[in-house]
């Protein structure tokens, strides 16, 4: 019995715990122990979800946020990766720029939100930049460490086999950095969405962040929780995709 229990994957346990909590919550609400106005309940949230799905609000706002976060992740990811790789391969440049990078990373990025709205307006641009800003440093620092951790011997060996600087970059440093890139991607996924949502929260007319802001000002807790749940599910699904990618790309480990 004990052995069969141990074989069950931890994901299943998480699922069971979650379902139990939801049932408990629902039961407490039905029994009148939970103030529905403040805390809502699973069935209400589900109804809210179906309604938003049916009247198209979910599709509209989710696609806006997804687009912003996706573009932000792409922009921040690409720029961060290039920055990390460049700093990693240029010791003198990194000695000059690393303190600056560390300092900039120390800035409270969420607090930059209002400024970014002022600079880049209420539209798509400010959200993409907000989201890119959230993830840029993750990629930059991870890839930088990645390059530094490449075994010297591998680089030397490839040079001795006739590899040029560029070939060393393409055939040693880049493949050795892929694990770091994927780790960054997993961390950045949630943050890119947070960035977009904060941007929307601060000034927008659509997107999940806007729905969150609007419904919480109406004390529509059901809708707020519904949006939160949808975002969580999306982040978890995204994480699963990256994990699959990891399994496929890193099977050499």
């Amino acid at each position: 019995m004990k052995r069969t229990l141990a074989k069950v994957s931890p994901g299943v346990w998480t699922g069971i715990a979650l379902v139990l909590a939801l049932i408990l919550w629902e039961a407490a609400a039905k029994a009148g122990h939970v103030d529905l106005f403040f805390f809502s309940c699973p069935s209400q949230i589900w109804a809210e979800f179906l309604e938003m799905l049916a009247d198209g609000t979910m599709a509209i706002h989710l696609s806006v946020t997804a687009k912003e976060a996706g573009l932000g992740l792409l922009l921040g990811g690409v720029l961060g990766t290039i920055t990390g790789l460049t700093l990693g391969t240029h010791p003198r440049l990194s000695r000059a720029l690393m303190p600056l990078m560390t300092g900039l990373n120390g800035l409270p990025k969420l607090a930059m939100g209002p400024l970014i709205i002022i600079w880049f307006g209420l539209g798509l641009k400010s959200k993409v930049i907000m989201s890119a800003l959230m993830v840029f440093f993750i990629f930059a620092f991870n890839l930088y460490s990645g390059v530094l951790s490449v075994e010297r011997e591998l680089i030397t060996a490839v040079k001795l086999l006739g590899g040029t600087r560029q070939q060393v970059m393409r055939k040693v440093i880049w493949p050795a950095s892929i694990p770091w890139l994927l780790t960054s991607l997993r961390t950045a996924l949630g943050l890119s969405i947070s960035g977009a949502i904060v941007g929307e929260y601060l000034g927008a007319s659509k997107g999940m962040g806007w729905v969150l802001a609007a419904s919480s000002s109406r004390f529509d807790v059901g809708r707020v929780l519904c949006c939160v749940a949808v975002i969580v599910v999306i982040v978890v699904l995204g994480d699963c995709v990256v994990r699959l990618l990891e399994r496929k790309l890193l099977k050499w480990r």
Binding site: E153, A157, K159, L161, G163, K171, V172, W252
Partner: protein
């Protein structure tokens, strides 16, 4: 014909305390085409440094380095270097590792894979084409590393204690394979080792390097019959004689090192 030549070569490295550490001082060494030379000497005496100079990886402070009559400036593609460390790229299959040098030279995929398959067969690695290095034993990794440098038909093979960490049996098998390879291709090999038995069993000539700063103390021509198998030669009376002579000189060299302040 002299293929490789170190002429009065001195190499020094900056050491952490700010002074210079002289690794090689006035080293003279030449290797003829088709010769198998083994280099032995105390740990830290500069054997790897000598190889690095010959491979164009380390620039000497003074002295001349020549390969096939040409001065060595920078890394040469005609040198096949096998280091002590395991340097197969872990994210590549064995086949793609063996094909690497050809890939760097721009050979098309189909051709280089075919050539790599042949090399793998030659090194007894058939069946492991699609495995990753971590799935190979230490001995197989070394075979793959050898196959990888053979791919570009190097003018000289330089091996730095290639079989150091392997068990005795695997080691002997690989040593025999090196002998077969050398006998069948007539390539030139410069072989660094800690292991005196290995040096004598393989080489035409053993070169003894002094304590740091390294220079050549003495050279011993190895007049054992060819073709050799390690197992057959290592019990010959002549072998034991040579081993004793070199061992004696090596001990003297080691004591000289300890005697110094």
């Amino acid at each position: 014909m002299k293929l490789l030549e170190l002429n009065n070569v001195t190499v020094s490295f900056p050491s952490p305390d700010g002074t210079m550490l002289t690794a090689l001082e006035g080293m003279n060494l030449s290797v003829n085409k088709g010769e198998l030379v083994a280099m032995v000497g105390p740990s830290g005496c500069g054997k790897s440094t000598a190889l690095n100079v010959l491979a164009g990886q380390v620039t000497p402070v003074s002295g001349q380095v020549h390969l096939a009559g040409q001065p060595v400036e920078g890394i040469l593609p005609s040198v096949g270097y096998i280091s002590q460390a395991d340097t197969l790229l872990p994210w590549r299959t064995v086949l793609d590792n063996v094909a690497l040098a050809m890939e760097l030279r721009g050979m098309p995929k189909k051709e280089r894979r075919e050539a790599a398959r042949d090399l793998m067969a030659k090194m007894g690695l058939t069946g492991f084409e699609n495995n990753y290095p971590r799935e190979l034993s230490g001995g197989m990794k070394k075979r793959a590393a050898i196959a990888r440098v053979l791919a570009v038909d190097p003018a000289i093979l330089m091996m730095d204690e290639p079989f150091g960490p392997l068990d005795a049996l695997t080691k002997e098998k690989l040593q025999d394979e090196i002998l077969t390879l050398w006998e069948s291709t007539g390539c030139t090999i410069l072989y660094v080792t800690h292991d005196l038995t290995e040096a004598i069993a393989l080489a035409d000539r053993v070169v003894l390097v002094s304590q740091r700063p390294g220079r050549v103390v003495r050279e011993y021509p190895i007049d054992l019959p060819r073709p050799r198998r390690v197992m057959d030669v290592k019990f010959l009376p002549r072998f034991v004689e040579l081993e004793q002579a070199i061992w004696h000189d090596l001990q003297t060299e080691l004591r000289r090192g300890e005697g110094e302040p």
